[in-house]
């Protein structure tokens, strides 16, 4: 069996259709991860040890268990409580929650990286705590973490094919389905592989540029 260019052209529309869902899931999941990660970080800074510990264990649990059983959990368990959701929604929720445990770590490290002298300067200037956070600490912390957050966006994009476990027809699933109709898998799956490599290489070049731009040293 050799490479068939004609067939390659024929499967392209199917792949592009799948790519749409890949992109939707990645974008929405990432937005959720960015927001929810911040929630975890802030909860861990509350003075209540119980809250702090609970959040720590929840995030540790989610971070050290695989996405696929998590997907099953969200997709099959929530309906048991009367919450019926579509497979794409389940995918977005799972990706978002899973990656929020990573973004939480990133935020935490970013805040810890802001030199102690900055806090002391705020105290010396008698800035209210909210001003210190909004005007001094967070802007510096965010600058530091932007490249790392970029890396997690790429990582999430590469994890999005896992959603096929709950039958989201993202790009790999699209390739698989079109392949199983004709029993020719080589072209569609190779195309998807190349797509991932190309997107990853380009986006890691962009991240490296961000790193240079936001380098604080």
């Amino acid at each position: 069996m050799t490479w068939d260019w004609q067939y390659t052209g024929d499967v392209l529309p199917d792949l592009l259709h799948g790519l749409r869902y890949t992109l939707i899931a990645t974008t929405l999941g990432y937005a959720l991860a960015l927001v929810l990660g911040l929630v975890w970080t802030l909860l861990r800074r509350t003075p209540y040890a119980a809250v702090n510990h609970t959040v720590r264990w929840i995030t540790e649990f989610v971070r050290s268990t695989p996405l696929i059983p998590q997907l099953y959990f969200v997709f099959f368990v929530l309906p048991a409580f009367g919450l019926t959701i579509g497979s794409l929604t389940a995918g977005v929720l799972t990706l978002g929650v899973h990656y929020s445990t990573y973004t939480a770590e990133v935020y935490r490290a970013g805040i810890a990286d802001v030199p102690k002298g900055q806090w002391e300067a705020c105290t010396a200037l008698n800035l209210p705590r909210s001003r210190a956070w909004l005007d001094v600490i967070l802007p510096q912390a965010v600058r530091r973490v932007i490249p790392t957050l970029g890396n997690y966006l790429i990582a999430m994009f590469k994890d999005s094919p896992l959603l096929l476990a709950v039958n989201v027809v993202e790009v790999l699933n699209a390739a698989y389905q079109v392949g199983s109709r004709s029993l020719r898998f080589l072209e569609p799956i190779t195309m998807v592989g190349l797509l991932f490599v190309v997107v990853s290489v380009i986006s890691s070049i962009l991240v490296r540029r961000l790193e240079r731009r936001y380098a604080t040293h």
Partner: protein, 232 residues
């Protein structure tokens, strides 16, 4: 719940498949990481290019896409793998690419003065690497290697999609046969969590041993990012 726990032989078998895949994939990844990471520190541009191609290709790809490629696409051009072998290959190649970056970064992070002291003692380039640079770089590699091992373990769940009966597949089977949805998936997640904690303990133990071997006079650990291998 009790029905779910009654099927414990299945859980044990599934966990064993997950652990075996983690260990085999980890071994392959370690070998690839060292080989290609060392290639990345070579003086010859052609050897360094080899490192770049490997890292960009296998780090840039999704493990599941690799697995599907080995499992569905390659057999059509005559390359047929056993499912377990295809899975180990996909996981090892992917995590190995991240590991190669860790190895390269760690070796480059050993202070230049150490390299110079080894030249002053007239060590050959191979001896400099083997006796001075690698042992010191190893201490820097361990923590990111630990993270990668956890990511690899999580990554093994993809094999449930090509028919291997690992923990994830067992949870799906048990859910199907007992109808206990909540319990089945909860047990699977808890088992994964336990495996991850054990792996983490082993890595911490190794870190402490290496730290003691090197004393405290270590260079500060560089922030070797393992970002980008999350999930699985």
């Amino acid at each position: 719940m009790s029905e779910v726990l009654d099927s414990y032989p299945q859980w044990v078998d599934g966990a064993w498949v997950t652990i075996r895949l983690t260990l085999l994939g980890g071994a392959l990844a370690l070998v690839l990481a060292l080989a290609f990471g060392l290639a990345g520190t070579s003086r010859h541009a052609a050897v360094r290019a080899l490192n770049r191609v490997y890292v960009e290709f296998f780090r840039g790809n999704a493990t599941l896409v690799l697995l599907y490629w080995f499992f569905y696409a390659l057999p059509l051009i005559g390359l047929r793998f056993a499912t377990l072998f295809a899975a180990v290959l996909a996981l090892g190649l992917n995590i190995g690419a991240y590991g190669a970056e860790v190895v390269r970064g760690s070796i480059n992070a050993v202070p230049k003065a150490q390299h110079e002291a080894a030249i002053a003692l007239n060590f050959t380039p191979f001896q400099r690497m083997r006796r001075v640079l690698l042992p010191q770089a190893f201490a820097l590699m361990l923590p990111p290697f630990g993270n990668l091992l956890i990511e690899l373990m999580k990554g093994t769940a993809i094999v449930s999609l090509v028919g291997l009966v690992d923990l994830t597949r067992v949870s799906k089977n048990v859910q199907g046969s007992t109808g206990e949805t909540v319990a089945a998936f909860t047990v699977a997640l808890v088992l994964y969590f336990v495996i991850a904690q054990v792996l983490q303990l082993l890595v911490r133990y190794a870190e402490r041993r290496v730290d003691r071997m090197l004393g405290r006079g270590l260079p500060a650990r560089p922030a070797l990012d393992t970002a980008g291998v999350a999930g699985g």
